[in-house]
């Protein structure tokens, strides 16, 4: 071993983010002190970000199998079969920490990272969705973050050429010190051409392809595994710098070289860079790897083995080729003007050997690196939760004018139109997007077939905060329901779990409960979780974010032409409300926006009722009976009706009558799961009624579209009578006015 590296001590190991116990384990497993480069390997691969040390025992509870699953968790992304020989590859990932430190590049490289996860599987990315959470917009720093994140996403996605078709943006004070940037990507691949991140076949050449390696992003994985304090901005050098143009070339080169059949396996150099690929790929295949670091293309001089192994420079991949086909690989990457350098070989024996100019700088069993210790730390329900839940929102004063209350709610930044952001994103490149952003789910056709994909992301931190288990289950239900409202059958889930520090028992309790909720809902809806990401340590100076699982759902429409969108299409259509009557103001948007309260109980969730409602909506849409279908979520049925009135090209009025509740605000703005607003043309009413009768769900007609006003009665009494145009203006300006 080389003597040029600093000597490793316990103190150095602690500085690198390892615990004393972990360091002991390394000493005993290696039977010696690690070299400095080896310490770097352990520091990165045993970080929470790479190793899921605190979450792995919980994640095992998620259902991961199903008849359509071609690839579950453990690869670059999950894969679901969609028929006609096609498969969909998708995953969601967070880039929260980098985006707080440097919003533009943080968000941009978040997009870059997830795109690579998709195309390393052999798929062409066809859609991006972003789930963003920020503090409230009265803070200039938040405005800067929103601007930076949105322009970073716009810059990277647009230049690369993948449309941004959906996602959501929500605001709450708990995210002020820790914004969330979760990016989901969806790609298409022929089911028989999926490529995996393996290093099979000792003797096969290992190629480094893509961008050169620099000193950027070193310790990115370790940075994402700690909380922030007031010095967060000093960590800017740990944020990578993106180059979407190079990524586009890398996409085309990778897909072209994969088509030749010369690729054995390939993995994105994301978190922990070369270190991660050279250990995870052979670990999956029961092989080893021997690499020469001096051959790694470098854009800076004098880089140490430690830096080369741990750099998180963007737009790079590690590719294992079939022996004898090296020239094909070189030729294709040369065509796309990218580096493709053979840096080593797959070996037998299960060891990663890294050399610098022939001299060994690290030699570690890959299983030891890939199998970090896992922990089951204690969990405790937060003591204040029972009190918060016990609060009765109906003790608060009622609004004096419900029309004004509805206008205010529709114009609150979380509910208002996000067009300000979406018009900065290319939404159509690839000419697949048949339902653009703005409906419950985006719909993308699959060219050459009659099918289409529907995609949606959802997650409500307030509901999860008050009841992590049910709140997380409701996030799964809502994302799936959104997909059903477009007419599609949900096929698979990806989840991004955003939480505070798992070392705090209260946070880990939130996490454990949320996983249980996701698991329950996914089992009830027969939805496998095929991949995802855990982002812990989302806290600054001890203030954790709202626990926020973001759920991405992908569904399939067998006939792309049989689909629905959320807005009313014309006058005289009957309007129905599907789903159970159970609603609550606890944890609702109304309670927060109007009364600044985060308290109360959630409405009860009946997963069997949810499943039936989803099936009924799908059946009605695919039978062509429905002219609009819209999920009731934030703001309750009043906001859902108002959105159906104003979110289309032309504003449309509606008259509706709701059943009485304990109070008018509960009837209008109460939130509950499993509810959908549907519009049906008069001529199809009979057929629709027949279908609903068969579906064994509770539902009723509540009104009719038409006119220029939204009129809502609760029982016999008119409580809202507002010009739809005025509602539309409030909805369109509610967010944008802050950003102008």
């Amino acid at each position: 071993m080389t003597g040029a590296q600093p000597k490793v001590t316990l103190d150095l190991a602690l500085d690198a983010g390892l615990t004393a116990e972990e360091y002991d384990r390394i000493l005993s497993q290696l039977g010696r002190e690690p070299t400095y480069a080896e310490l770097g390997l352990f520091s990165a691969l045993w970080s929470e970000h790479c190793a899921y040390k605190h979450s792995r025992v919980f994640l095992a509870r998620l259902p991961q199998r199903g008849p359509h699953v071609l690839q579950g968790p453990g690869e670059n992304a999950g894969v679901i079969d969609i028929g006609d020989g096609w498969a969909v590859v998708f995953k969601i990932e967070s880039h929260n920490h980098p985006s707080f430190i440097e919003p533009f590049q943080g968000a941009a490289t978040g997009v870059g990272g997830i795109l690579r996860d998709i195309f390393t599987m052999g798929a062409r990315p066809i859609a991006i969705l972003d789930s963003l959470r920020f503090g409230e917009l009265d803070n200039p720093k938040t405005l800067r973050l929103v601007n930076g994140v949105v322009s970073g996403i716009s810059w990277y996605g647009n230049c690369f050429g993948c449309p941004t078709v959906g996602g959501e943006i929500a605001f709450a004070p708990e995210y002020a010190g820790n914004p969330l940037v979760n990016v989901m990507c969806v790609g298409l691949v022929r089911a028989d051409q999926i490529v995996r991140a393996r290093a099979d076949g000792p003797g096969n050449p290992v190629f480094y392809v893509g961008n050169k390696t620099g000193r950027d992003g070193i310790h990115g994985a370790t940075m994402a595994s700690a909380t922030f304090d007031e010095h967060a901005e000093e960590r800017r050098p740990t944020v990578q710098v993106g180059d979407p143009f190079t990524e586009k070339l890398l996409l085309e080169a990778c897909l072209e070289v994969m088509r030749t059949g010369a690729v054995v396996g390939i993995q994105d150099m994301g978190a922990a860079g070369l270190a991660c690929c050279t250990s995870e790929m052979p670990a999956r295949s029961g092989t080893g790897m021997d690499v020469e670091l001096s051959r790694v293309p470098q854009r800076e001089t004098g880089m140490t083995p430690y830096e080369i192994l741990l750099s998180e420079s963007q737009e790079r991949m590690l590719l294992v080729a079939a022996r004898g086909r090296e020239e094909e690989v070189r030729r294709i990457f040369a065509k796309w003007e990218l580096e493709a350098v053979e840096i080593g070989r797959v070996t037998e024996g299960g060891e990663l050997t890294a050399r610098l100019n022939g001299e060994v700088v690290a030699r570690v069993p890959v299983d030891l690196l890939a199998e970090a210790p896992t922990y089951r730390k204690p969990t405790t329900e937060p003591s204040e939760l029972a009190e918060r839940r016990a609060f009765d929102p109906l003790t608060l004063p009622e609004p004096s004018d419900y029309g004004d209350a509805l206008i205010d709610l529709l114009g609150s930044p979380t509910i208002a139109s996000k067009e300000w952001a979406f018009r900065q994103y290319d939404q159509q490149v690839g000419i697949n997007t048949v339902v653009l952003p703005g409906s419950d789910a985006a719909v993308l056709r699959v060219k050459g077939t009659r099918r289409a994909l529907a995609v949606s992301t959802d997650g409500n931190g307030r509901q999860v905060f008050l009841d992590p288990r049910q709140g997380a289950a409701m996030a799964v239900c809502e994302a799936a329901r959104n997909v059903c409202c477009s007419g599609a059958e949900p096929r698979g889930v990806t989840d991004c779990m955003n939480f505070g520090s798992p070392e705090r028992p209260e946070i880990l309790w939130q996490f454990s409960e949320a996983i249980e909720g996701i698991s329950l809902a996914c089992r009830a809806l027969e939805l496998p979780v095929v991949g995802g990401n855990v982002s812990f340590y989302n806290e600054t100076s001890g203030q954790a974010i709202l626990p926020t699982p973001i759920i991405g759902v992908v569904g399939v429409l067998d006939d792309a032409s049989r689909r629905a969108t959320q807005w009313f299409k014309g006058p005289g259509h009957r309007v129905a409300l599907l789903g159970p009557a159970s609603v609550s103001l606890g944890g609702s948007e109304y309670l927060w926006a109007r009364h600044r309260r985060l308290a109360g109980r959630l409405a009860s969730l009946d997963l069997e009722a949810e499943r039936r409602v989803q099936r009924a909506v799908r059946a009605a849409v695919s039978a062509g009976l429905v002219t609009a279908a819209h999920d009731c979520s934030e703001g309750g049925v009043a906001v859902a009706l108002a959105e159906s009135c104003v979110t289309g090209c032309a504003v449309m009025g509606c008259e509706a009558t709701l059943v009485t509740a304990d109070r008018t605000d509960l009837a209008l703005f109460g939130e509950g799961p499993s509810r959908v607003v549907i519009a049906v043309e008069a001529a199809r009413v009979r057929e629709f009624e027949g279908l609903m009768a068969e579906s064994a769900i509770s539902w009723r007609w509540i009104g009719t579209t038409g006119g220029e006003r939204l009129v809502i009665r609760v029982g016999p009494k008119v409580v809202v009578d507002v010009d739809a145009g005025q509602l539309g203006r409030a909805w369109r300006s509610g967010f944008e006015a802050h950003m102008a």
């Binding site: 716009s154 647009n158 050429g161 979407p244 070339l249 003007e337 159509q428 048949v434 060219k447 792309a560």
Partner: protein, 237 residues
């Protein structure tokens, strides 16, 4: 009609144009790599949207000096048709095949949205099937689409009737509110004096199928197909 779709490093509308030409128009089409210098048997060359060479210098600046664009000059000289959309329009201006320049959008942000275009010049192979004053609906998707030319050039464009499309309201009025990027005189597309080279910021390939929400882009392609005469020349009217 034989089409070629040019692919630069960073081009992304290439597949979309290829799809529309082959699957919607059922015409022969091939990709043309940016290093090619031979455009041989093609009738119409399409320069698609994207970020050629990353557009890191100036949008279209590097591509405007590439081998295929040099070949394009001969091709145009022989009377071949060229359609540049989005980045393709930027490249044509950078190459000097069309006058003027496309600069950063006035709002300083990228814009992806539906726009209305009023047709000003129907004496080109691309527009001979349209009516003067007709309003087309097509999306834009760009960060640098604000057309600018000096007063002399603008006067010449007007005098020779070289402005083909202008951003307009749904009823065809050319207004400031309907201008999505601050283009001079709401210019969305221009043509060379011969009528054979058309540059436009909007994306006709994204408006060529009912499934994608509109077919006004297809009207341009249909004009093109109808303009081809048996001897290989093109009708303008």
């Amino acid at each position: 009609m034989r089409f070629g779709v040019v692919v630069f490093p960073g081009t992304w509308s290439d597949c979309d144009f290829h799809y529309v030409v082959s699957e919607v128009l059922h015409q022969p089409v091939r990709y043309v790599w940016h290093r090619e210098r031979e455009l041989g048997q093609l009738d119409c060359v399409i320069l698609p949207g994207g970020f050629s060479y990353g557009d890191y210098l100036r949008a279209g600046a590097v591509a405007g000096r590439s081998p295929v664009v040099e070949a394009l000059r001969d091709f145009v000289g022989r009377g071949g048709l060229v359609l540049g959309s989005c980045n393709g329009f930027q490249i044509l201006c950078e190459a000097g095949l069309l006058p003027g320049v496309l600069t950063r959008n006035e709002c300083l942000q990228y814009r992806c949205q539906s726009t209305h275009l009023v047709v000003e010049n129907v004496d080109t192979p691309f527009t001979r099937g349209l009516r003067a004053g007709q309003v087309l609906t097509m999306p834009i998707s760009h960060g640098e689409g604000k057309y600018y030319a000096d007063a002399e050039t603008l006067a010449r464009l007007k005098q020779q009737n070289l402005i083909v499309f202008r951003y307009a309201s749904a009823d065809g009025k050319v207004t400031k509110a309907s201008n999505p990027n601050g283009s001079l005189d709401n210019i969305a597309g221009i043509v060379n004096p011969e009528g054979t080279v058309l540059g436009m910021m909007p994306h006709p390939e994204r408006a060529s199928e009912t499934a994608m929400g509109g077919t006004d882009g297809l009207l341009m392609f249909q004009s093109l197909l109808g303009s081809l005469v048996e001897d290989g020349t093109f009708l303008k009217r």
